[in-house]
């Protein structure tokens, strides 16, 4: 087949007046306005607050869909459209316009954010029922969605950064939604602080971009990418990687994400699936023209991704909290996405982002549904046998589990394989493929563990949690589950047609590849390490082995888990204690920071305060002398005034005379 597909041209068009793309600024604005309304008068709306919020995000979802179809109707090379909205800053020649950039990449993200966001909103009706800050929760959800939409639609580094920060803010608000519990408030603070580290990287990268190109708009910077000096490009790439690592929870900044479980479960679903963590992946894909000029940086991104994937997967294997397991699995899956975008296979990365959005939202909402039924219990060892009691949750989780485990023909299989296949090609990336394959097996293992412990086996909760009578959740919660399950099962079709089933990443025939191609600049050539088809077979076999291992350990009768843990000894502890990363940070960064702060305090007290006090004492001493001048006699003051008058008169009149003479 010789069809050519559109590539990145760096040409951006204007939208047709009155078209949905032209009005796309409404997509973030409507939820933002709704959030403001809910914050102001939400309490009076009572239960209707949810309806307002859902209407707002529903509007965005429909509008995004219309914009998407309009984009599809355009010719392939004209699908990057910038729609100016307003001038934001104007400083001399430097102008920052608030414009909306819609291109295939943004459009795909829009669909994910709005539709998954909508389902999570609907789910929250049931989940948040009876919470005392019901309306505020929906306000925050809307704000979160709006922030992410600003980020996705940003046409420049600066507008993207605004969304980036707003996302950080709303995640802080939502993670700490139940701030009465100290641990939750701390988790929110942790997420915020860790994100700030990434933000600093983003800002410095912005400064560099501006100094190198004189602009921050993608439409101007990205086409100029090849002209940026390679040293600067490397710096920009690495700094953006720091930013992305912060937002997308990669090594070394992943520690906030598992703690972010403190928020209500729909928030976790939103953070992990639709918004927030995908921002980093999106950023790297968005600036792919810059990464294309310095592939070595991309390789760094990929290596960080695979290391994160492995570490998080190892941790996830031993956690005893159904939300924590999912959290680490998100970190791990994000690692996969970083492999994809890092190796120049942005399509694969974004593809995995989409399918992950489906199945991770599904799994989180299912976990929430389970917790709803089990009186907020999160320990899977106290569950088991929920299959019969919660049939819909069970069936949907089954699909989600199969998808994330990477078993064909579910969505996760296609996207994960596509990423791993991409790792076969570039020089120096084969190690990534090997580790990625191991991670695939680990993923299958821990997700099977999660699934088996909750839904299959004996009903341990009857003993462990007396008085709890699990029940299926209300329709407002199960409906999103069903819809997401459909996406998880069939999402793979987005980029895999039957014809291409065995020829992965065949841009000519697969939809997503050809659709996204104009947005991104792929790099690395085609020098397979081993042929694609056997590679896929190997990965699938490893995944099946992972499932089998989980079955052997957690479904078979008579496994002595205590003995097993002791036999594993240090390895178990290492994984169970999350490799002591938090403790390491505490020992180094926190203590170090505290020591530094103490040093600064001392400096402040001795040197700065000393200088200030010294000045004060000096002035006081001078004043003691100077106060003798203040006799209190009005006539002395008058004398002084008179003397000044004479002096001034002499000066001015003397000057006048000189001027005349």
């Amino acid at each position: 087949m010789t069809t050519t597909i559109a590539t990145y041209t760096g040409v951006y068009g204007m939208p047709e007046a009155g078209s949905a793309i032209d009005l796309a600024w409404l997509i973030p604005v409507v939820p933002a306005v709704s959030a403001a309304v809910l914050l102001l008068i939400g309490k009076r709306l009572g239960r209707y607050a949810a309806h307002v919020a859902i209407l707002a995000i529903g509007f965005s979802a429909v509008a995004s869909t219309i914009a998407f179809t309009e984009l599809l109707a355009l010719p392939e090379e004209a699908r990057s459209v910038i729609s100016p909205v307003a001038t934001w800053l104007e400083v001399g020649d430097f102008e920052v316009a608030w414009s909306i950039l819609i291109d295939p990449l943004a459009a795909v993200m829009l669909l994910l954010v709005t539709w998954v966001g909508l389902l999570i909103h609907v789910y929250s009706i049931g989940y948040m029922e009876g919470d005392e800050r019901y309306s505020r929760f929906f306000a925050y959800l809307n704000l979160f969605a709006a922030s992410m939409l600003v980020l996705v639609l940003g046409d420049s580094f600066l507008t993207l950064f605004v969304g980036w920060e707003l996302v950080g803010l709303s995640s802080y608000l939502l993670i700490g939604f139940w701030f009465e519990k100290r641990a939750y408030a701390t988790a929110a603070k942790k997420a915020f602080v860790v994100n700030r580290i990434g933000d600093v990287g983003f800002m410095i990268a912005m400064f560099l971009v501006f100094s190198a190109t004189g602009s921050l708009a993608f439409a101007e910077v990205l086409p100029m990418a090849p002209e940026i000096a390679s040293g600067t490009a490397v710096a920009i790439g690495l700094l953006l990687l720091v930013a992305a690592a912060g937002k997308s929870a990669q090594i070394p900044l992943f520690v906030w994400l598992p703690d972010a479980m403190a928020g209500p479960t729909p928030v976790s679903a939103l953070i992990h699936a639709a918004t927030m963590v995908t921002a980093g992946v999106y950023l790297v894909a968005r600036v792919s023209p810059i990464y294309a000029t310095v592939p070595g940086v991309g390789l760094t991104v990929a290596w960080i991704g695979v290391a994160t994937a492995l570490l998080a997967a190892l941790i996830a294997c031993t956690q005893n909290d159904i939300k924590k397991i999912l959290a680490y699995s998100t970190v791990s899956q994000l690692g996969y996405m970083f492999i994809g975008v890092g190796l120049g296979a942005q399509v694969a990365g974004v593809f995995h982002l989409l399918t992950h959005g489906f199945f991770k939202a599904l799994l989180f909402l299912a976990a929430g549904s389970v917790m709803h039924a089990m009186a907020d219990e999160t320990n899977p060892w106290k569950m088991g046998g929920l299959r019969k009691v919660m049939p819909i949750t069970f069936a949907t989780s089954l699909l989600g589990w199969l998808a994330i485990a990477g078993l064909p023909p579910f969505s996760g299989f296609f996207s994960k394989e596509e990423i791993l296949v991409a790792a076969l090609d570039p020089p120096g990336a084969q190690g990534i493929w090997v580790i990625g394959t191991i991670v695939a097996g680990l993923t299958a293992f821990y997700m099977s563990r999660w699934f088996f412990l909750i839904f299959l086996g004996p009903k341990r909760y009857e003993q462990e949690l007396p008085g709890v009578h699990p029940h299926e959740s209300p329709p407002s919660m199960t409906l999103p589950l069903v819809l997401l399950a459909v996406g998880s099962a069939a999402g793979g079709l987005l980029n895999a047609t039957p014809a291409s089933l065995l020829r992965f990443w065949d841009p000519e025939t697969s939809f997503l590849s050809s659709f996204l191609a104009p947005s991104v600049v792929p790099y690395y050539g085609d020098t397979p390490f081993i042929p694609h088809v056997p590679a896929v077979a190997i990965v699938t076999a490893v995944a099946v082995a992972g499932v089998a291992a989980a079955w052997a350990l957690y479904l078979r009768e008579g496994v002595d888990h205590v003995a097993l843990r002791e036999r594993l000894g240090g390895f178990y502890q290492l994984s169970y204690q999350r490799f002591y990363v938090d403790e390491l940070y505490e020992a180094t960064l926190e203590r170090g920071g505290r020591g530094l702060a103490n040093a600064f305090t001392t400096f402040d007290r001795v040197v700065v305060d000393g200088a200030v006090n010294g000045i004060g004492r000096g002035v006081a001493g001078l004043a003691t002398v100077g106060r003798r001048v203040q006799t209190g006699y009005v006539r002395s003051y008058a004398l002084a005034v008179a003397a000044g008058t004479v002096l001034l008169a002499a000066i001015f009149l003397g000057g006048l005379l000189n001027g005349q003479g």
Partner: protein, 245 residues
């Protein structure tokens, strides 16, 4: 310039000269007496003389309106106010010159001489040329060098009062209205200030209020020592006040 007008000006020339000499001497003498006389009522009377002298000078300077206003406002109202206060307070008697400030008198006189020197050299000296004298015939004036006197013949053509009034109610109407507000405010202020308070205690420099709020801690002892001595004095002054009422 009609010959008649020129003649009039020339005729007024010698008159103005003598008026200036005599009235100027009166003004200077009365001013000096005012400063030097120990009795405040005498000083006030000297001030009246001075104001009259200046009113005459105004008249010679073609400012008839101001001359009359000077007599009414200053001599008629202000000096009467001074005298009234002097009588009210009963402080008309002799007042010592030497104060508690060392060298005040010498410094003041030296400063005054310096200022006079500066003003005479800086302001008066440039205007000694023949052209600056308005009472010499026009022909001489025009021929003279340096700054020239314009004269008020044109501006006062309809009379000085009409001229001044026209300016006040056209160009200066806004400041004029503002001064009316100023006068009202001043009158209200005087009434408020003059009102006798029921309890003057907080306004007298009684011990508690005499200690400035912003004072160093070290000085507290000294301050309280001073304060301890003061109640008697304060009480005495209050008694005095009663007595003067």
């Amino acid at each position: 310039m009609t010959p008649l007008l020129a003649q009039t000006e020339a005729a007024s020339g010698s008159a103005e000269f003598w008026v200036f000499i005599v009235i100027g001497a009166v003004a200077l003498g009365s001013a000096l007496s005012m400063v030097l006389l120990r009795n405040a009522v005498h000083a006030a009377l000297m001030l009246v003389v001075n104001f009259f002298a200046i009113a005459v000078l105004y008249a010679t300077l073609d400012a008839q309106f101001l001359a009359v206003a000077q007599i009414i406002v200053y001599a008629g109202a202000i000096v009467v106010l001074f005298l009234f206060v002097l009588m009210l307070l009963g402080v008309a008697g002799d007042q010592a010159f030497t104060g508690r400030i060392a060298g005040q008198k010498t410094t003041a006189v030296l400063l005054g001489l310096a200022l006079f020197g500066v003003l005479a050299a800086g302001v008066a000296a440039p205007f000694l040329g023949e052209g600056t004298a308005c009472n010499v015939p026009v022909e001489q004036r025009v021929d003279a060098e340096g700054p020239l006197c314009e004269g008020l013949a044109v501006a006062n053509a309809d009379g000085n009062v009409r001229g001044v009034g026209f300016l006040i109610f056209t160009d200066y109407v806004w400041p004029f209205e503002v001064t009316s507000v100023l006068l009202v405010v001043a009158a209200i202020g005087a009434i408020v200030l003059g009102k006798r308070r029921e309890d003057p205690g907080e306004l007298t420099d009684a011990p508690a209020s005499a200690v400035p709020a912003l004072r160093d801690d070290d000085d507290d002892e000294a301050a309280s020592d001073e304060d301890a001595a003061e109640p008697a004095a304060a009480g005495a002054s209050e008694d005095d006040e009663e007595g003067t009422r």
